[in-house]
Homo-oligomer: 226 residues x 2
């Protein structure tokens, strides 16, 4: 029997917490939309296999050059440091959430699922307008109207939570955060320095939850100390 819920799943802190909330009656869609995310994708696959939920990789690489600014010549450099407005704009793929939601809604109709779930959260509102409640509301409207015979609802249960609040909630659920992946760099371990790594550390610190992440920087410090 197909799952009744479809989740946009990246294997990061937020969508992994939501996976824990929704399992086992959920199918994960993993979006492959550009080279930067291969490491992230492998990790997301491993997580789905660990939780034993159905998943499918959605290959959007064919349209990546259409939507990513200046991406035809390869990816932009990963901005380091805290997510400031200007550096974060570099990481924006225009309309990405709408594209992923549209495909997930179509898939939900095709398999008879009733809900599409996304782990967008309040921490992203300032930077990504397509993570805000009114965007989710408009997409939900469009999904309802456009699929009148087989309506699908769009849910964003964390839309008003901060990343720290999500981590607190997930810690309570027992989410094994050591298996999640946030980093934008393609290293073996988290780099600790890119925007998502900085945000990740901050979320654990603010949540008062021990950070189980293994960082590349700590490894080299440890090996130089030994």
């Amino acid at each position: 029997m197909p799952a009744s819920k479809v989740l946009l799943f990246s294997g990061g802190l937020d969508s992994t917490t939501l996976l824990w909330d929704l399992r086992p009656d959920v199918k994960c869609l993993l979006f492959h939309y550009g080279q930067r995310h291969v490491r992230e994708l492998e990790n997301a696959v491993a997580l789905c296999q660990r939780v034993e939920v159905e998943f499918e990789i959605v290959n959007l690489t064919a349209i990546h050059s259409l939507i990513a600014k200046g991406s035809q010549a390869g990816p932009d450099p990963v901005p380091l440091g805290h997510y400031a407005d200007e550096s974060m704009k570099l990481t924006v793929v225009p309309n990405r959430n709408m594209i992923m939601l549209s495909v997930a809604i179509g898939h939900a109709v095709a398999i008879g699922a009733k809900g599409v779930y996304t782990a967008v959260h309040a921490g992203d509102h300032a930077i990504y307008p397509d993570c805000r409640p009114d965007f989710i509301y408009a997409m939900n409207r469009a999904a309802q109207i456009g699929n009148e015979w087989t309506p699908v609802e769009v849910f964003a249960p964390y839309v008003n939570l901060t990343k720290a609040e999500i981590v607190q909630h997930g810690h309570y659920l027992g989410v094994p955060y050591r298996y999640t992946w946030s980093c934008y760099q393609g290293l073996d371990l988290h780099c600790k320095r890119c925007g998502t790594c900085v945000e990740r550390q901050e979320a654990f610190a603010l949540a008062g939850v021990p950070d189980p992440t293994k960082y590349e920087e700590d490894k080299s410090e440890a090996s130089s100390a030994s």
Copy 2:
């Protein structure tokens, strides 16, 4: 200088008429989402080249199996005869308009275009809920909110016109309808019998515009008469 308008273009009666309304400051996106449409796609490319507007093929074949019901084993049979409710539902790819609009909106942001245009029309309202004004309105809302820094509007100027009214308008504009393609079959000429062919003939008849289409059936009648 990139075009300021992006058009969802299929090379059929409706979107070709809209191309004539918008040219030359328009870029056409041609969606390749399944095998049935290769003939349609070739025709759309030829039309863009004839009008000398920029175009790009958006390859969505990688996600076709995700969204098309039962399509994993190949396309459904093409329903023949007039578009009746039940046979038409066979031709529905779930959420197709939302997916195409989402990609087009993302592309518009990437190239700095201000509007995305679709030729959905009143003749489709009964069958395709994602061709109705309230769907377009919801997508336009989502596009505005989700791309706050670089807003893109969604326009559907024919949303309250019938196909016959579009043909009347296009006839006035001088659209060379003989180069447009509607048929769902993969023949050299229009089959005259599938749902879109029946609708095409009806549009010309109701518009009082001579139908310039060459039909497969007429060709075989002509050759058997000779």
